[in-house]
């Protein structure tokens, strides 16, 4: 059963239409990789899912809940938006850790403020997550004392601590030195193995091919092509997809 159902999402900034009707669905435990050239609207799509942007029209449903319905014109209240956000997690390209908190406190801050359990439960869970991303030794360190790859792994643990239904990644390795991308991609791969449902915007084609159940190729605000990794990488139907894949191979 689809855990996420996105139908005909449209979004414009002023006169530029950035998303021109995006529809897809995602089953529990599946991983979708979102690929496409810069400016095609990938970030905007993730931001709509996380309610950092409000779509102009379309619907977003998680399980049986319709979180957003463009037809239903009454605006969502701040509280409804906040509750909607709890279904999703988002890992940013630039980590955005809270600099004044150490690793443990970064991970426990939101669960503690939102009273997701007793302090002991929250801390125990946080320690387990920090262990999962391989940073137990750094648990008392501040973000400025960590490498980019370590910061991004903390950001992943922080997102997981709220136990989202769907975890989104916006180019999680683009801000990293090449030798640090591996550690982050391995963590994401580990999450896939433990059954997390994820949407990953990435330029790492090899990773997308290996980890995804489904690939979405976006161009100019539409889904140009969608399919299994085999379909997209071995046998792309659209010229645009072929062109994009060729270019991204040439770069390497």
């Amino acid at each position: 059963m689809a855990i996420l159902e996105v139908k005909n999402i449209k979004k414009s900034f002023g006169k530029t239409e950035v998303l021109k009707g995006i529809s897809f669905s995602l089953n529990e435990g599946e991983v979708i990789s979102l690929i496409g050239s810069s400016g095609s609207g990938k970030t905007t799509l993730l931001r709509c899912l996380n309610f950092l942007e409000t779509p102009d029209s379309g619907t977003i449903s998680v399980g049986d809940n319709v979180l957003f319905d463009g037809e239903n014109s009454k605006a969502l209240t701040d509280n409804e938006i906040r509750e909607n956000r709890l279904h999703f997690g988002l890992v940013f390209q630039s980590f955005n850790l809270f600099p004044q908190y150490n690793v443990l406190d970064n991970v426990t801050l939101a669960p503690k403020l939102l009273k997701k359990g007793s302090t002991e439960e929250i801390e125990q869970n946080a320690r387990a997550l920090i262990d999962k991303v391989g940073l137990t030794e750094k648990i008392g360190n501040y973000p400025c004392e960590l490498s980019g790859g370590q910061q991004q792994r903390v950001a992943i643990a922080r997102a997981l601590a709220m136990n989202p239904d769907i975890l989104c990644f916006d180019e999680p390795t683009s801000a990293l030195d090449p030798e640090l991308t591996g550690e982050v991609l391995r963590v994401i791969k580990g999450l896939k193995e433990s059954g997390s449902t994820m949407i990953v915007v990435t330029h790492e084609m090899e990773f997308a091919k290996n980890v995804s159940d489904k690939i979405i190729f976006m161009a100019d605000g539409v889904i140009e092509e969608m399919g299994t990794p085999e379909q997209i990488f071995e046998n792309p139907q659209s010229d645009k997809t072929r062109h994009f894949l060729q270019n991204s191979l040439e770069k390497i």
């Binding site: 906040r82 956000r85 940013f92 600099p99 801050l109 939101a110 403020l113």
Partner: protein, 231 residues
């Protein structure tokens, strides 16, 4: 006059300087916050009004603002408020200059609140959008984000400019003598006029230097306390 007598006479004046300093800091620093929020308001009229207000207060000499506050009630409403306060307090409580000091405190508080508000605004606006968004996607409320994530980063960023402003403030208190408030330099001038002693005027510098030295140490400690993270 002996050295000790002069020092004690100047000390009385310095107490007035310190009073102006403390009240301005204690009232101006909190008052700067609503002004900063008004200047950042999404409601245009409020934003424009508060920006014009800040522009005027920062654009006009503080000495002129002291004159305006002190003389305007008398000139406009034919009610010299601060002279009345002066007389009333000195008759009933035997304390001189209360009205003049009050006028100075009002002028200083407004003036410094505007300077502080600009520092706050700069500090708040310098925090990246990503910090707010990281809080939003975790499901936090706006006020949780401000209190638990943004505030400390803002404080860290405003400590150095606030320190500068605070050190300027103690020296600015000398402006109060433009309406004859007996702060330390006014006291020294008094000695020059009545006892033909000029050295006390230069000696006042020592008072300022010692106090600024103390402030520098304290503010340096605060800065150091926030050194454990980079933002």
């Amino acid at each position: 006059m002996s050295f000790l007598e002069v020092t004690s006479f100047l000390w009385d004046g310095f107490m007035v300087s310190l009073l102006i300093f403390a009240v301005t800091l204690l009232c101006g620093a909190p008052l700067g916050l609503p002004i900063a929020f008004c200047s950042m308001s999404r409601w245009k009229p409020l934003k424009v009004i508060s920006k014009i207000f800040v522009w005027i207060v920062r654009g006009v000499p503080l000495m002129l603002q002291i004159f305006i506050i002190y003389y305007v009630p008398g000139l406009l409403f034919d009610f010299p408020l601060f002279s009345h306060v002066d007389r009333y307090v000195s008759i009933n409580f035997g304390i001189a200059d209360a009205g003049r000091i009050l006028a100075v405190l009002i002028a200083f508080t407004i003036n410094y609140a505007c300077y502080f508000s600009e520092i706050y605004r700069g500090g708040i606006e310098s925090i990246s959008k990503g910090q707010y968004e990281a809080g939003y996607v975790l499901g936090l409320t706006k006020s949780q984000i401000f209190k638990k994530i943004i505030l400390k980063q803002v404080i860290k960023r405003i400590v150095p400019p606030m320190s500068n402003e605070i050190i300027t403030l103690i020296k600015d208190t000398a402006l109060a003598n433009c309406i004859m408030v007996c702060e330390i330099i006014k006291q020294a001038k008094e000695l020059a006029a009545t006892k033909a002693l000029i050295w006390p005027l230069f000696f006042t510098g020592v008072f300022y230097l010692i106090f600024v030295g103390l402030l520098t140490i304290i503010l340096g400690r605060v800065e150091k306390k926030l050194d454990y993270f980079k933002s």
